[in-house]
Symmetry: C2
Subunit: 202 residues, 2 copies
């Protein structure tokens, strides 16, 4: 009895968890400039998916930078480590059966390629595209203004690069479409790929 305790470690498989949750899990990786609308589109997509009964979780600056990655700054090395940890956490969510959405600038192609490598077929790169001038005009957090004034160094799009995805699964143009249209485009993609059931879309 008690001495048998260690050899029997039966792990519940991802497939069983997906079945229990009644869905397929993936990672929707939103990438784009500050102010492009990554987090907003991710939240609108999550809201719509939840209404369809799809269980999701968003990883973004709000819950990652204040917790898990609060020891990291914005140097290239720290950005790399930031993305690595987010990738590994999103992998855990996928393994739990939850559809994960990540919303980070993730400016370097190399870092996103590492994410793609680690996550394999679960990785769905969503390029949230808006012209820099549009993002700067929106400037939701006043960061572009500070970057232009030199108060923030290494700001993506101003004095640090944003490397556009070369082959993203999806491009969402937030300077052409409204929030709900953008979310609908993401959801249509998931349905086309049979990740969510087409019948769920009303």
């Amino acid at each position: 009895m008690a001495e048998h305790i260690y050899p029997h470690k039966h792990r519940v498989a991802r497939e069983t968890k997906e079945k229990l949750l009644g869905q397929k899990s993936r990672v929707l990786w939103f990438t784009g400039l500050s102010g492009s609308g990554k987090s907003t589109v991710a939240n609108a997509t999550e809201y719509a998916l939840n209404n369809m009964g799809v269980k999701t979780y968003i990883l973004d600056g709000d819950n990652i930078r204040a917790g898990l990655n609060k020891d990291l700054g914005f140097s290239p090395e720290d950005r790399k480590e930031n993305i690595r940890r987010i990738t590994e956490v999103s992998k855990l969510f996928v393994d739990s059966g939850i559809l994960a959405l990540t919303a980070f600038i993730s400016p370097y192609r190399e870092d996103r390629d590492v994410a793609r490598e680690i996550l394999g077929k679960d990785f769905i790169e969503v390029f949230v595209k808006a012209d820099l001038s549009v993002c700067e005009a929106r400037d939701p957090k006043g960061l572009y203004k500070k970057a232009r004034a030199g108060e923030i160094k290494g700001f993506t799009g101003i004095d640090a690069p944003y490397e556009e995805p070369t082959k993203p699964e999806l491009v969402i143009e937030t300077d052409r479409f409204g929030i709900n249209e953008c979310a609908d485009q993401v959801i249509s993609y998931l349905a086309e790929q049979n990740i969510i059931d087409k019948k769920l879309i009303i």
Copy 2:
């Protein structure tokens, strides 16, 4: 339209996610010596909970040490950072509505107290108790043998301390009870605390 994209960031709240999943989320924090049966009891508990329809996820060495925390060793500082990250990740799972189970030695009281502080009422400390001699006799991974031979330094219970919990929510004695009995004890606790529905227990 498009210019309205940034101010509308509606986040789906934890309560909504718990409702969607039809459950309450918490963290079952299994702590104990190597070979005490933490991971085994956690897996048996998860299996039983899944059969009741409760959605769970286990964080343990298998998925954390090989991924998120592969940059960390076993020095006191690295153990501290290991536990900090696990705490933050389990907080994300709780926030997603999933019941998380963590199975790590987590030998330092101070580190577990930090976990308790960060997780608040969601933290359920489960002391997986077995006499060192029993754990050493089991030695599932042959690590005690290596530690006794001096091939591993800083091994908990041999030449590094294990600080027993002073006020754990639950004590599970794996040298007295079989695996399923141990899992039942955890599940009974969850039912008593109204975290899972008593009616789910057959």
